[in-house]
Symmetry: C2
Subunit: 242 residues, 2 copies
DNA sequence: CTATGTGAATGGGTTCACAGCT
DNA sequence: AGCTGTGAACCCATTCACATAG
């Protein structure tokens, strides 16, 4: 089903960033070996990842930085405008709204939403924070493509559902919880779909909605684990051989 | 080399979070099927992931929430104290410092560092921001285990190197760049280690240092890609069969 | 001779079926 | 009978070797 490995997409993002850096240094040509070094992967991997989407190089020569950059941007969907709302405008939501770099890729923050009376009405960046009750109409009226979710974990599922009901196609979830179609009511364990994924007839609004998670508490915990068990991590610095 | 899949560790973190939610709801027993539903994975996967680290359930019965929670905390290294410094105390760094939930796991922020004269000396949370020049002595004097890196991308490599030189064992990198042992000086492409990962003789300080990345710009870009190509994503809502 | 692009082989992770306890 | 724990099967991602193009 995934004819392109998920990990390959993450790597493409990295290659693109490297190409931007190269362009900034007025380096106009590169190679799979060079990209591989800078990205911390193998050159095979670079070539294979690119090959999923086309042929962007010249044999014997390598890649032309601006061309490969343009092609990767196209592949990743970064040559078009994305209208984004942020739901949750606490410290994290504001840090996201103000983080530089998003607008470089035509991610435009068009609306900010929260429930807190202290925040609603306030100005953040060039936007006025709205109450989350206005979300649905706003998304429909403003061609919002995706929502960034920066609410406390206990509100994340409801806020995500609101985004989906409103019609966004993608959610970037910063809350440390799994969001998704709400399981049918009932006890924890019952007999439907034995030993596999659950699925249900409600929750169809979620069909086609993409969720990406950015969970830094999880990152902390993974870091703790690998710091205790370094041998379980494929490190950038290879082991001593024999 | 990775006898435990990296993805399994991420899932263990999710299971742990679910167990905490269950405990908060005074639910004392669960099962692989129940955990699987809540985590959005298969029950096979849950059992296999747990099996990498031991036998925590009772056949025919399932798992006892507090026991499994305790065991997962132990496995993940969350039953001990971690002393953490944050390098970069801009909006993002402050949001991290103030984000609730870290201290639940004995992650203790013991030092904050920045270069900006506007920030150094200021009070954030209960800590005074120090100049990054003090990092080395501080890390050595205060048994710092890991560093969270929230500086602008162009400073990330140097700040990471400073953390490593100072002796931290883990880095949680929020900057949208690859950090690691600095490649040897020289042109982009040369002949060492043909077609594979680079490695070098300097950069040995990085040996054993764990780097985890939390890159939300990358998350945005992945989201853009999958929103354009939903069929390439294994969705929580399964496809219509046939 | 160089470096890409790609079918084939390898290896690691997920899925499965069932053995083993309760 | 029920649900965990696990060796084996399967499948997908990475690695490789080489054919191809410049």
């Amino acid at each position: 089903m995934a004819e392109v490995p998920t990990a390959a997409i993450s790597r493409l993002v990295t290659y693109l960033r490297i190409l931007e850096q190269l362009e900034g240094q007025d380096i106009s040509r590169t190679s799979s070996t060079d990209l591989a070094e800078r990205a911390g992967v193998s050159a095979f991997q670079v070539r294979k990842d690119l090959a999923y989407f086309g042929r962007f190089g010249t044999r014997g020569m390598g890649y032309t930085v601006p061309i490969l950059k343009r092609e990767l941007m196209r592949v990743l969907g970064l040559n078009q405008t994305w209208n984004v709302v942020i739901v949750g405008v606490g410290r994290l939501g504001q840090a996201i709204a103000n983080y530089p770099g998003a607008s470089d890729y035509q991610f435009q923050y068009v609306g900010l939403f929260d429930v807190s009376p202290e925040l609603v009405g306030r100005q953040v960046r060039d936007l006025t924070v709205r109450h989350i009750d206005e979300l649905r109409d706003f998304v429909r009226g403003n061609k919002v493509d995706m929502g960034f979710l920066a609410v406390p974990p206990e509100r994340a599922q409801d806020a995500a559902q609101a985004l989906v009901d409103a019609g966004v196609r993608g959610i970037l979830n910063f809350a440390p919880v799994v969001i998704g179609p709400r399981p049918p009511e009932g006890r924890a364990t019952d007999q439907r779909s034995v030993d596999g994924n659950f699925q249900q007839e409600n929750g169809d609004e979620w069909r086609g909605v993409i969720v990406e998670n950015v969970d830094f508490l999880a990152g902390m915990k993974r870091l703790a684990f690998y710091t205790l068990n370094p041998h379980l991590k494929d490190s950038p610095v290879p082991e001593d051989p024999a």
